[in-house]
């Protein structure tokens, strides 16, 4: 499988701030690649450099082995995190306008059906709800039959049902062989959709790989979670990795029964103990020492 996109040593420097610090990664064709990190980590800046809407201080972007240029703009579909559409245009007119900007053109009826916009075609852009706007933004990103789609925090502000529907839509797009670059700070979203992820913090990539592989390499077992207030004394005798954050104590273990047995004398309410698998949020907390959404 060939490399669809490659970022080499990207740097973005603002006065007094190094927003992107020597970021490099490659994305295989047909892959869904997730760029994760908290607000301000540099992921949107990184993606905007790749998209060509923000100039890099240093670094290069390659699209199918060649410097990203006109072909890239012709074949890439982009859903921005924050953007506006022209006022007073309907959904149909907006789609038609953007479609005419490209030589490659998708079947509009198919996009309208895929993005569930059929009932909204004659509605003014300004009168769409948050979820409807996100579906329209996605549809706009698809009007050129893109080989590569950028989705920048596409489900921010959506309700859980709308998020699930959006995921289904993204999976359908990926199923057609389209390469997807997804930025998000929702770890469950990344876990469901992404084949590969890179976690960014303070402008740098601090971990990279398939989500499950990253978790397996870091967490050999399950996590026991309990409120700090339920502890009666120090956990000095516990022979496991222990984390404490925001009033919650987490213990990583490969033998849940044995751990619970050694934990019981130190806890006054066992009913509030939870046992779960490690997730990407744990990984991020582990790597950076702060929460993903801080």
């Amino acid at each position: 499988m060939q490399t669809a996109l490659e970022a080499r040593n990207l740097v973005k420097r603002y006065p007094g701030v190094l927003a992107v610090n020597d970021v490099s990664f490659a994305v295989a064709e047909g892959c869904c690649f997730g760029l994760l990190g908290p607000n301000g980590a540099g992921k949107t800046t990184t993606v905007e450099i790749i998209e060509g809407v923000s100039p890099a201080t240093a670094g290069e972007v390659y699209y199918f082995g060649k410097p990203a240029g006109h072909r890239f703009r012709e074949e890439a579909g982009i859903q921005f995190q924050n953007t506006a559409l022209q006022d007073y245009l309907t959904v149909r007119e907006t789609l038609q306008m953007f479609r005419k900007l490209y030589a490659r053109r998708a079947d509009l009826d198919r996009i309208i059906e895929d993005c569930s916009l059929g009932d909204l075609l004659d509605r003014d852009n300004r009168k769409l709800s948050g979820g409807q706007r996100q579906r329209l933004f996605l549809a706009v990103a698809l009007v050129n039959r893109p080989r590569l789609v950028f989705l920048d925090e596409p489900t921010t502000g959506l309700d859980p049902q709308a998020r699930r529907n959006f995921w289904t839509l993204v999976q359908r797009i990926q199923g057609s062989g389209t390469t997807i670059i997804l930025t998000t700070h929702y770890m469950d979203e990344a876990h469901v959709l992404c084949d590969q992820i890179a976690i960014m913090d303070e402008g740098q990539i601090i971990a990279r790989g398939a989500p499950d592989e990253l978790l397996q390499s870091r967490y050999d077992g399950l996590i026991i979670e309990l409120p700090l207030d339920d502890l009666t004394d120090e956990l000095d005798g516990i022979d496991h990795t222990v984390y404490e954050s925001l009033g919650i104590v987490e213990i990583v273990t490969t033998d849940v029964s044995k751990s619970l047995e050694s934990l019981a004398p130190h806890v006054d309410n066992l009913n509030r103990i939870k046992i779960r698998q490690a997730n990407l949020e744990d990984l991020f907390l582990d790597l950076t020492g702060h929460s993903l959404r801080s």
Partner: protein
């Protein structure tokens, strides 16, 4: 490329036509001005009158007649009789007097300022013994409403072009729409051409609509060719749209854009001769006004509408407007920025 330009052009047209408030204002404002002036202006003159003194000597001897000592009147020397008569006809001066061997004066009977200036003249002349003879203007006397119509249409075009392009582009940049377009194959030049084309078409349609209505109701004067007038409007609008694009090339604040556009448009409105002639203004003001696109638009439009000027007659102004457009567009394209830095 043409399809991309057409896509942006058509979308902008729809946006404008559906913004009913802006559309209504573009049509209603000049109409209000026109009818307001037509029915009300004749009752009130300006504070200051401009009176031409027909004589061969360069300086005016103010002791020759008590009228020449009247305060709040600007006296200007005119040597050529034909030129002087034309200025009276075209409301460029309110009154023409001659105090040589024969003391005479000429006034445009359609001029409200001329009426008041004549009353002052006759009053002063009575004190001096009543020597003056009233003369008839040989050509057609032009109503003030005929003279001011090009000014109001030009002013409306100016505001529509400057704000309709400059302000809108800044809004597009601020809300991220330009950034969204940048991520497409659309090039800056294509975007600019679409914006210019859209605004030119809309301004010309609105101006033609207002002109036709005014012409039918007020029976305004039209001595020249409509095609020449259209060309003046087209080239003039082009210069204004280009100026709007230059101002909006990289500004990201609507407030700043509004301030800059006002800074440009108000001096033009005051100094380009929208409401009254700059005949009495000093050479510095007249030189400054000659650098403004609106001055050339109004001079050309008045020449076509009132004097029947041909394309050749207005060619110098058209060339000046074209040159200004090229400079503004070139600088605008050079400095254009899709997104805030």
């Amino acid at each position: 490329m043409l399809q991309r330009i057409y896509a942006i052009f058509a979308a902008r047209n729809r946006e404008f036509m559906r913004d009913r408030g802006a559309l209504a204002w573009n049509i209603i404002m000049p109409v209000i001005f026109m009818f307001g002036l037509a029915f009300a202006f004749s009752g009130e003159g300006r504070d200051q009158y401009t009176v031409g003194v027909l004589q061969s000597a360069p300086g005016i001897d103010y002791s020759r007649h008590p009228f020449l000592e009247t305060r709040f009147i600007e006296f200007v020397t005119i040597r050529d009789e034909a030129v002087a008569f034309r200025k009276v006809e075209r409301h460029q001066i309110d009154l023409l007097v001659q105090f040589d061997d024969a003391s005479r004066y000429w006034v445009n009977p359609e001029s409200p300022q001329g009426y008041f200036a004549e009353r002052l003249l006759l009053q002063a002349d009575a004190e001096a013994g009543g020597q003056l003879q009233k003369q008839q203007i040989s050509g057609d006397a032009i109503r003030y409403v005929d003279w001011v119509l090009p000014g109001i249409l030009g002013m409306n075009m100016m505001f529509s072009c400057l704000f309709g392009v400059g302000y809108v582009v800044v809004r597009y940049r601020k809300n991220g729409f330009l950034k969204r377009l940048r991520a497409t194959p659309l090039r800056p030049a294509e975007f600019i051409v679409a914006q210019v084309g859209s605004r030119l078409m809309l301004v010309l349609i609105v101006t033609a609509f207002v002109y036709t209505g005014t012409h039918l109701i007020l029976d305004t004067r039209m001595e020249g060719s409509y095609l020449t007038l259209l060309l003046v409007a087209l080239v003039g609008s082009m210069s204004m749209v280009s100026l709007g694009l230059l101002i909006a090339a990289r500004v990201t604040s609507e407030e700043l854009a509004g301030g800059l556009l006002n800074l440009i448009s108000w001096p033009m409105m005051i100094l380009s001769g929208v409401w009254f002639s700059l005949e009495a203004a000093g050479p510095a003001v007249q030189n400054l006004a000659s650098a403004f696109p609106l001055t050339h638009i109004l001079n050309s439009a008045r020449a076509v509408m009132l004097d029947g000027a041909t394309i050749l007659d207005v060619a110098p102004s058209l060339m000046m407007l074209t040159a200004l457009s090229l400079v503004f567009l070139g600088l605008g394209a050079r400095f254009f920025r899709w997104a805030p830095s």
